[in-house]
Each structure stands twice: as structure tokens, then as C-alpha cells.
């Protein structure tokens, strides 16, 4: 039987090539098996479903960590941990996986973000029943695990068709993630998302097949080593355009981006995080892995156009952001702008620009992932993400949330010292001196336009901050329901030890001798004053670094409830808050309780649910990594540089 003999060769081949290559396969197998187990033995897993998802994604994350740890950084340019099995000989499709300096950060990012999503989901819903885990938790865990398989597989695949298959695997889970757990107009958004991306990927498939027909192999390794030899210029251009359209839809590039705002607005928090954090990277990664190295001549011919679309995207994204009222929609449009920088970096075809693009890729994954987490948290508390209805004053009502939001926004607008900066800087720098053969004047124009775009980016983020975090909290009625306070878990942990709810409820009444009549209304005049000061602190990089260094401790402090005597509550609350609040606001916020010192419970009364434990757990790594890469970009650049140089071999 041919099948049996093939199976034999399969095993034999596997034995030979499996040396050290078990990691990529396991990275895919763990979430896949985890998902299958959910399908096969649902009853067994039902009781500990939350931990199950966490466990599986945790194992995947640990494996990814192992991958990062055992990666040979001396030869980051080459592919490591290769697996190469024949799958469909008739199509020449091989199950070929591997990691190099370009894909390693993205694999780690995927595993991290998925794990954090599970952290967010699984520890977040222990008490109140949010819309998430209560609505079909098993399906949610299943969907996320399948999504993870697709995402990691895309970054690992070294075969054109295998890449395509993984690229497509992502579609269906994402469709359901938006379509089932999404917002009000989720159906339309999900359909739009899936149709757009499928149209793109089918066109991409045609391009990939054209490459295959012309070059005779599907192996990305061999094809990129060949640097397009054997393909005529016209074929290369055609293939680059076809593949580029598919990738550009996913990225998304400016005229093809219209699915993104809808999808993001309607998607649930974890969906948005994964969509922005990882799925968009699949498009840009495709440029780095397939389009540019395989088709250098085509890339050189199309690059000016790519750059033009990229800068239009930057400006367009920024202008669109300025016009948005919805927070999630604004962040979605900001992704269009950021991806414009990434594409501009690729379009320069220089090692500098490409490095910048890859760096911006990872940074965007971290920062925008964090931003969507925050937007989800805000939407969950206020039941709207409409910025005017949020009413501002978040730094007063929920200072930690406001500070982290400030931090993320500032990181996203590209403040030097945080991760968002280096990618944009390098991309623009690459445009200053594009590769030989590209029109320099044109790219200089792009650079100028991109610089203006960066300015606009700063503008809309600052406007957003001024709308959301600053000012007086307007519309407090829905924001601070009295019964909401005992529910706010983590904060309450400390407080419950301090006093019974009854005591705390009476306290604000006694405090309402102040002119602000409602008593629920928060800020004494000090709060707005304190807020800008608080907002100022995260800019101060050492302070932010200190925050990241302290955060593990902070979570511990929050986790175990210190029972301070009731009388000293104000001080102890400040002390408890201080480590967590070092994100920004500790100094400023300390004034609030002290300002109303005679009202011990006053400050917590005023703020609504601030950051909870699970949110803190999910966000801290992102904050830490943002700061780490911002201060030490070489960490990432040293990984990508050799790989980029081999990848651009023919061009640079």
C-alpha cells in the first residue's frame, strides 16, 4: 500500500529531522489537543473549565518560553527547531515548521497574549457573571485555543501552503468570537470581517500558487534562499501584488482596512486584544517572511506604492481617530495608523526600516493589546465606550485604571523611552535612506508625512486622555451605584477587613457636609489638581520602570488582605495603593484621601471599581515589556537584525 509506505517514510523522516525540533510541533499540538479534549470529554472538564483553559495556554506559554530560552542567539538569522514532514506529496505540501529571529518574538507574543487573555477570563469571573464565561464557557475556551493554534502556526510555518492553511484557520474561530460574544451589531461585523479577510486570502492563495508554479517548490526556506531567481520580473510583480493584497487586508493597509473598526468595536475584549495584538501581525509577518524575500524584484517595483498606501494609512488613521467618539473604535483606527508605520518600514526595503517594522510590530502587539484590555475594562464598568458619555475624570474616579490608560496611550503615541517609539523612529529613519533603486525623494516625502502622522497620533491620544482621564467626573449616577462597592473585589478585600459595609455607607453621608451635595460626587477640588500631576509621572521613565519592577510585589500586596485598624485606614489605603499606583498616580492620589482625611472611606467611595486583581495580573506583563523594550530596544533588534539581513539578501 502506498499509504503505508508513506507512513513509514513519514516516521523515518521525522526521526531524522526531529532533532531538537519537537518544540514547534508541541507548541501547536498542546492547544490543539486541548481543544479536542474539550470536544471529546466535555463532562469531565466541565467543573474546572476556567483552570483548564488557563492550564493549556499556560503550558503553551511555558513552551514558548522554553523556545525563547533555548533559541541559539548566535545564529538568529538561520532557522532553528526545524520540523519537516511530508503531508500531501501530491501538492508538494510539507509540514515544515521552524523559528528564526523574525518569528521568535511573534510566537512568544502570541503565547503571552493568549495566556493573558485566559488569565483575564479565568480569574476575572469568579464572582459576578460577566457576559463572557457565563455564556458558553466551553465554546469560548475551545475557540480561543483553536485561534491560538492558527496564530502560532502562521508564525511557525515554512511552507507556502501550510502558511496559508494556518492563516485561514484563524478565520472561523475569530468569526465566532465576534459573532457570538460580540456587541450589538456583531453579526454584521463578523460577516464583514470574514468576507474581507477571505477575499484577501484567496487572492493571496492565487499569488502563492503562482510562485509555486513558477519556482517549482513551496518551501519558504528554499525560496527565500533563491531570492526570486527563476521568476521573471513581471511574474514577481504580479505575485507580489496578489500576495500583498491578501496580507494587506489582514494588516490592514489603508484602503482595505474598513473591516477593522467594525470588528474591533463589536469584538469582546479578548477578541479585540488578540485581533490587534496578533492577527494583524500575521499580515505584516507575511510581508517579512514571504512577500519581500521571495519576490525581491516585485517588492522593489511595488515598494513606492506600498509606501504611499502606508503613509496615507498613517494620516488617515490619525484623522479618523480624531473624529471618533467610541474608545474602541478609536484604538482600532490607531491600529491602522500604526500598521502604516510598519508597512512604511517594509516599503523602504532597508535593514533599518525592516527592523523598525518588526519592532513596531511587536510593540504594537503589546501596547494595543493593553489598550484594548483597558478599553474593555472601561466598557465593562461604564457599559459604554463612548468617550463623551464616559464623562472624563477617570484619574479621579478610578485612578489606577486611569493611570494605566495614560501609560498605554503615551506608549502608543511613541514617547521615547517606551516601546512604541523605536519602531516608528526606525521606520521613518529607513525612509530617510531607502534601498538602492527606490526613489529617495519620494521616500523623503513619505518620511515627512509620516512624521506629521506621528504628531497627529500624539494629538488624538492626548485629546482622548483629556476627554477620558482628566476633568471632572460628570455623570456620576450610573457610575457609582452604592451596591457596587462591596462587589469591587480587590479593593473590598482590604476594606472589608477594615469595616462592615454599613459603616462605609454611612461615612460619605457624614462627609457630605461639603458643598457637593450628592455626596457620591467625588472629587474635592484637589482631585483635578492631583490628576494632572499624576498624569505627569508616567512620562518620567525611571518612575515607570520602578513601577514595572515593583509590580509583582504590588500584586502580592493586593492579594493578601492586610487588616489595618479602621482608624488608620486612610493611610493604609494609601500605602496599599502605592505599589500598584506607581504606574503613575501614587503621589498624586495620595492627596485625595488626605484632602478629605476626616472621611476615611471617602476616597474609595468616590472611585468606582478600580483595577481588579485579574486585570492587574493580565496587564502587568504588558506594561513591563513595554518599558523593557522601550529602554532596551537592542534586546529585540539584536534578534531581528541578522534575520533581516539574510532576508533582504538580494536587496541590501
Amino acid at each position: 500500500m502506498p499509504v503505508l509506505s508513506r507512513l513509514g517514510s513519514f516516521v523515518e523522516d521525522g526521526d531524522v529531522r526531529m532533532m531538537g525540533g519537537w518544540l514547534p510541533g508541541t507548541l501547536l499540538a498542546v492547544p490543539l489537543l486541548g481543544a479536542l479534549m474539550l470536544l471529546l470529554a466535555p463532562q469531565v472538564l466541565r467543573p474546572f473549565l476556567r483552570t483548564y483553559g488557563l492550564l493549556i495556554s499556560g503550558v503553551t506559554f511555558v513552551l514558548a518560553g522554553l523556545l525563547v530560552a533555548t533559541f541559539d542567539y548566535g545564529r538568529a538569522a538561520g532557522l532553528q527547531f526545524e520540523v519537516d514532514w511530508p503531508w500531501i506529496p501530491g501538492l508538494g505540501l510539507r509540514f515544515h515548521l521552524g523559528v528564526d529571529g523574525i518569528s521568535l518574538p511573534l510566537v512568544a507574543l502570541t503565547a503571552l497574549l493568549t495566556f493573558l487573555c485566559f488569565v483575564y477570563l479565568c480569574w476575572g469571573r469568579t464572582r459576578d457573571s460577566g457576559p463572557f464565561m457565563s455564556a458558553r464557557p466551553r465554546a469560548l475556551v475551545f475557540t480561543l485555543l483553536v485561534l491560538e493554534v492558527g496564530m502560532i502556526g502562521t508564525f511557525l510555518a515554512l511552507d507556502l501552503l501550510l502558511f496559508f492553511v494556518f492563516f485561514e484557520i484563524v478565520l472561523i474561530p475569530m468569526y465566532f468570537l465576534i459573532g457570538i460574544w460580540g456587541g450589538e451589531r456583531r453579526r454584521a461585523a463578523a460577516v464583514k470581517f470574514v468576507l474581507y479577510t477571505l477575499l484577501g486570502s484567496v487572492v493571496m492563495l492565487l499569488g502563492l500558487l503562482l510562485v509555486w508554479v513558477q519556482a517549482g517548490t513551496l518551501d519558504i526556506e528554499a525560496l527565500s534562499a533563491a531570492h526570486g531567481t527563476g521568476m521573471s520580473r513581471s511574474v514577481q510583480i504580479l505575485a507580489f501584488v496578489a500576495i500583498g493584497i491578501g496580507l494587506a487586508v489582514k494588516t490592514p493597509m489603508w484602503p482595505l482596512h474598513t473591516w477593522l473598526p467594525d470588528a474591533h468595536t463589536e469584538a469582546p475584549t479578548v477578541g479585540s486584544v488578540l485581533l490587534a495584538g496578533v492577527l494583524l501581525k500575521m499580515g505584516t509577518y507575511g510581508f517579512a517572511r514571504i512577500a519581500i524575500p521571495l519576490l525581491p524584484e516585485g517588492a522593489a517595483a511595488v515598494a513606492p506604492w506600498l509606501g504611499a498606501f502606508a503613509v496615507v494609512g498613517i494620516i488617515y488613521g490619525a484623522l479618523a481617530c480624531l473624529a471618533q467618539r467610541d474608545l474602541k473604535r478609536m484604538i482600532a483606527y490607531s491600529s491602522v495608523g500604526h500598521m502604516g508605520f510598519v508597512l512604511l518600514g517594509f516599503a523602504t526595503l532597508t535593514p533599518v526600516g525592516t527592523n523598525g517594522a518588526l519592532f513596531a510590530n511587536v510593540a504594537h502587539g503589546l501596547i494595543t493589546g493593553l489598550l484594548f484590555f483597558l478599553a474593555g475594562a472601561i466598557k465593562e464598568r461604564h457599559h459604554t465606550a463612548d468617550m463623551p458619555s464616559l464623562g472624563g475624570g477617570m484619574l479621579a474616579t478610578s485612578p489606577r485604571l486611569g493611570s494605566v490608560l495614560t501609560f498605554a496611550a503615551i506608549a502608543s503615541l511613541g514617547l521615547p523611552g517606551l516601546a512604541g517609539f523605536w519602531g516608528e523612529m526606525l521606520a521613518l529613519f529607513g525612509a530617510f535612506q531607502p534601498a538602492n533603486g527606490l526613489p529617495r525623494g519620494l521616500f523623503l516625502t513619505y518620511m515627512v508625512i509620516g512624521g506629521v502622522g506621528a504628531l497627529l497620533t500624539a494629538a488624538y491620544f492626548l485629546i482622548m486622555l483629556s476627554r477620558v482621564t482628566h476633568g471632572r467626573p460628570r455623570d456620576p449616577a450610573p457610575a457609582t451605584p452604592l451596591h457596587g462597592i462591596p462587589d469591587s473585589e480587590d479593593e473590598a478585600d482590604g476594606m472589608r477587613a477594615a469595616g462592615t459595609p454599613d459603616e462605609r455607607l454611612t461615612v460619605p453621608v457624614s462627609s457630605s457636609g461639603r458643598p457637593s451635595a450628592t455626596g457620591t460626587l467625588a472629587p474635592s477640588p484637589e482631585a483635578p489638581v492631583g490628576a494632572p500631576g499624576a498624569h505627569g509621572t508616567p512620562v518620567d521613565t525611571p518612575g515607570a520602570l520602578g513601577a514595572s519592577a515593583d509590580t509583582p510585589g504590588a500584586s502580592e500586596v493586593l492579594a493578601d488582605p492586610p487588616p489595618p485598624p479602621a482608624g488608620t485606614y486612610g493611610a493604609s489605603a494609601g500605602a496599599t495603593r502605592a505599589p500598584a499606583g506607581t504606574f503613575a498616580a501614587s503621589g498624586g492620589m495620595l492627596e485625595v484621601p488626605s484632602g478629605v482625611l476626616q472621611v476615611p472611606g471617602g476616597a474609595p467611595e468616590v472611585r468606582q471599581e478600580d483595577i481588579r486583581r485579574h486585570e492587574l495580573l493580565a496587564w502587568t506583563p504588558l506594561v513591563a515589556l513595554t518599558v523593557l523594550f522601550g529602554l532596551w530596544p537592542g534586546l529585540l533588534l539584536s534578534l531581528t537584525t541578522p534575520a533581516v539581513q539574510t532576508l533582504l539578501g538580494a536587496l541590501s
Binding site: 499509504v3 470536544l39 501538492l91 478565520l171 468569526y175 468576507l195 500558487l209 508554479v213 517548490t217
Partner: protein, 626 residues
Amino acid sequence: MIQQIDYFLIAPPLVLALVAALVLLLDAFLPARPAARTALGLLTLAGVAISLAFVVAQAIRGGPPQSTFCVPPNLAGPAGQGPAMCSFVVDQFTLVFAGMVLVAAVVVVLMSMTQLAGGGIPVGEWYFLLLCTLVGAITLPASRDLVMLVVALELLSLPVFALTAMKRYDGRASEAAVKLFVVSVVSTAIMLFGVSLLYGIAGTVYLSRLAAVLSGQMPAPGVDPALTQGPPAVVTVGVVLVVAGFAFKIAAVPFHSWAADVYQGAPVPVAALLSVISKAAGFAGLILVLVVGLAGQATTWVPVVGIVAALTMTTGNLLAMRQRSAVRLLAWSSVAQSGYILAPLAIAATTAQSTTATATATAHIATATAQTTTAQTATTAAQTASATAQGIAAPATTAPLLPEAVSGAISTSMAYLVIYAAMNLGAFAVVMLMSRSSARNELDDYRGLVFRSPAAGLALAFCLVCLAGLPPGLAGLFAKVFVFRELVGGGSGWLALIMAINTVIGLYYYATWTARLFTPTPATSPSLVAAASPLPAPAASPAPAATRPSTIGAPGPTPNSAAEAPLTAEPRTPAESPTPAMATSPAPHRPPPTTWLAIGLALLVAVLFSLAPQLVLDMTSLSPFG
């Protein structure tokens, strides 16, 4: 002169014909009790299985193509040195089609057992007609002359009219039967006219001889070669008419309009039969006529096939988008899928043309004569072809004896057809299941199916995703990749682009249907009551203990009940389960165990193809026609 008939070769259709006669006899003599229905069904199933066993035996024996019903060389006329003239040839092509039809037939028979369990349909006639159709369907790919093709096609078509009308006193069914009848008769007439023109010109009905004459290899009888340059223009008319005749059978545009009404009016098993078995046979005939018989006329039919393919997929998809009825949607989607199957044939022709006419002609002569040596060269050519595809070997072998592009295109069509059969049958089987509980069978009835009946819901979801061509339905994805590869490789980029857009259109309706499966039903919705109430009934009624296992295999009505893997449903319905289920037939909405078996079988094949698409390629890529 007495002809030697190779009975082993004709065993598969022969067995089916004998069983058909047996069924008719038994139906007349067995008492009209419910047990008799089951017995007849099992007998039919056994007949199909034996026939399948013969096909498998022929496949295992392998070797060069076998033929029977040949014209002896000394009677072959003055041009006796031409290709052998055989009516019945068993080669790879025949075996793949026969095997696919018979496996599909097993599913259809299982679905029929459910359909017939409801009563109201004469059982004996049903199975007899079904078996007759199958005889036609597996004779057709083996036919190598025009008359036999027409006869097999009629044998395939005629019983289907009756099957469609078998739901007596049903207005829709009668309408469907009349529509099908009229369309089919017209198409047969058109095709016969075309066949007669071809016969008139070539003076032969054998495809091999026809190819030789039309490509100028042999002189046409009664025509002075010195006077004419090539075959006369009337050949074009003949080719177009024959293509049109087959286009009716496969419901290609512009002969597609009957599809939806007929599918909807007919009983669901008949709709499945039409969409898979009948369609497969139609494609077999089309491929045979075009590629074997009319290869020399490629200039005529290439553009026709290409345009028809593009129109078919576009029209089918656009019409499917607007449907509310599940069966109508499947009808139009299967029209669209016909377009995908047709598309590679346009490439086959283009590339066949690019090689010199003599090369193709000799190749066809060689394959038709089916000598061992040529068969071996053909095999090696195919092997080198696959080797180049793997990127292992050096650049393409130049102009081999066998037009490998042709065989590649045909095997692509066949591969798509095989995969399509599996996934479409799976979808029809679930629709069959649903038709038991909701008479109208609209898409909205499927809302929340995954919660009411996890196994059925997941099975349908998988099949739909397969049809859409997305992971995890890898079978469908790779089927489309095969076709895209042929189109891109064959330089027919425009068709590839049209197909790409169509894939997206198709995704729309498959995805919205799939999404319905996962959308919870509002508790007050009447459709939930209508659909869910029958399900708890058997469990509550004092059913015999023996039926319990089979009913448990069916969905639990609670929305929280565990989703089983689609596959686990299959082993739960053992072979003996039909008997008790049939015995207590009056319960009209009982979850029918045979349908679960059908779903399981179709799904098993679809999953298998998803994991190892190479199996399909192995089956189909080995040098058709030799």
C-alpha cells in the same frame, strides 16, 4: 462470431441489476409488514456492498485497463490498424467513479431507510428504482461508445423521475418530477441529435475511433481526404449539442433552472442522489466525451467549457445567497460546485491544445488501445509529473507521450468531485434528519441546532465549512487548492480570479448558515417548540429497551447537554439498530438511526479526506484512462 464477455469486469453493474430484480420479486411476495421494509433495505445495502467489493477487487488487481464488448479486429473494417473499439473499459477512471458512486449509494440507501420508515412510499419500487439508477451510474464511466453512453445516461435518469414522484399526493413532488422529466427528455433529445451528427461525420460510435477521425488520424468514411481540410463545420454543432446535453445533467448554466425546484420537491435522499450520484455520472460522461472522444475539437469546446464554468459558479452562488430553504440552498450551492468541478476541464483543453495535435491523438490512441507498454509509460509519466509537483525532480518533462496536463486536469476534477461528494452527502444527511422534525426545512429551523443536537449540529457545521473551503474543513480547502493550482498553472488566471471571488460569495451563505447553528433560539420561538418537542418524546414514551441506545445516540434536548464529537455518533448506532427502530415505525419523529449511520459515514470520509487529502490524490491522479 461469439464474443467473449469478461464477467468479472461487468460484475459491479450486474450484481446491482440482479439485486434489483430480486428486490422487486421479494417485494411482491413478502408480506407487507414493516419488517419487510427493513429487509428490503438491508438487501439493497448488501447488493451495493457486494458491488463495491467487486470494484475494490478490480482496483486491487490493478494492471492495465481491461476491456470487454470489443469489436474483433477482423471486423474492424478496412482501417483495422486503428485503435481498438471497445464499449466497456475498466480503468482507473472507471474504478474511481464507480467506487465513489457506490459509497455515496450506501449513504443514500441509509437515508432512504429513514425516509421509507415513515411509510407512504412503496418500498419495493423505491429500492428497485434506486438500484436501476445505480446500474446506470456505474455503467456510464465505463462506457466508451456513444450509444452506450446514452443508454447508461438514460438508465440513470429515468428511474429518478419516478423516485422524485414517489411521494404520492404531494403537489411539490409531482411538479418536481414533471420538471425533471421535461428537462431531462429535452436534454436527451439535444444530446442524441449531437451524437447523431458526430456519428454521421465520423462513421463510428466508439470514442477512440471518433477521436482518431476527428483529429485527422484516420480518414472519415465517405470523405475524400484530398478534397477536405479537416472535419466539416457541422462537427462544431455536434460538439456543442453534446456538451449542452451533459450540461443539463450537471445543472450547469444556462441549463440550471430546474435544480432548485426539483431538489426541493423530491424526497431528500433523491435530492442527495441527484446532487452527488447523478452529477458525478454526468461529469464522467462529459469528461469521456470531451477528453477521449473530442480531444481534437478542443478549440471548439474549450471556451465553451470555460465560460460555462464561470457562469455556473457565479450564478449558483448568487442564487444560493438569497435562499431561505435549506434544500434550495444546497441545490444552488451544488450548482456552484459544479462550476468549480468544470473549471479544470477548460484547462485540460487549453494545454491539450498547446501540445501538437498529433501528440494528443497518438496519446489517446495509445491509451485506448490499452497495451501494457503504453500503460507503463503512462504510469511513469504520471509519476514524473507528481515528482515535479513535489519540487524534487528537475523542471518539467517536455511533451511526454501522455498529455499529462490533461490527466492532471481530469484528476483535479475527479478529486474535487470525490471530496465534494463526501461533504455534500454529509450536509444532505443532516438535512434529512432535520426534515423529520421540521417539515418546511428552512434555514431558521436550524437555529441553535448545536444545542438541541450537538452531534448533528457539529456534523453539519463541519460539512458546511468544508463546502466553504475553510479550515477545519481542510478537505474542501485542499479541493479548492487543487483547482486553483490547475487554473494558475494552466495559465487561466481569469477563471482563477472568478473562482476566487465566488469562493468568497459562497462563504457568505455557508457562514451565515453555520452561524445559525450556533445561535441560541429564543425560548418562545415556535420553531424551537416545533423542533424540540419531538425529541424528548421517544425517551418519555415506553419504548422497548432495545431502542434506547440508538435514541441516546441522538441528541439530548437540553441545551447544555454535552456536544459529542461528530464521530462518536457513528459507532453508537450498531447495525442491528434499524430493526427495532423500524418495528415501531408509527412514532413519526423518532430520531432515525440509519440517518445517523449515514451522517457518520459521510463525515468519517470527509474527516479522513481533511487529514489526508493525499488519499484522494492517490486515487485520482494515477493516469486516468490507463
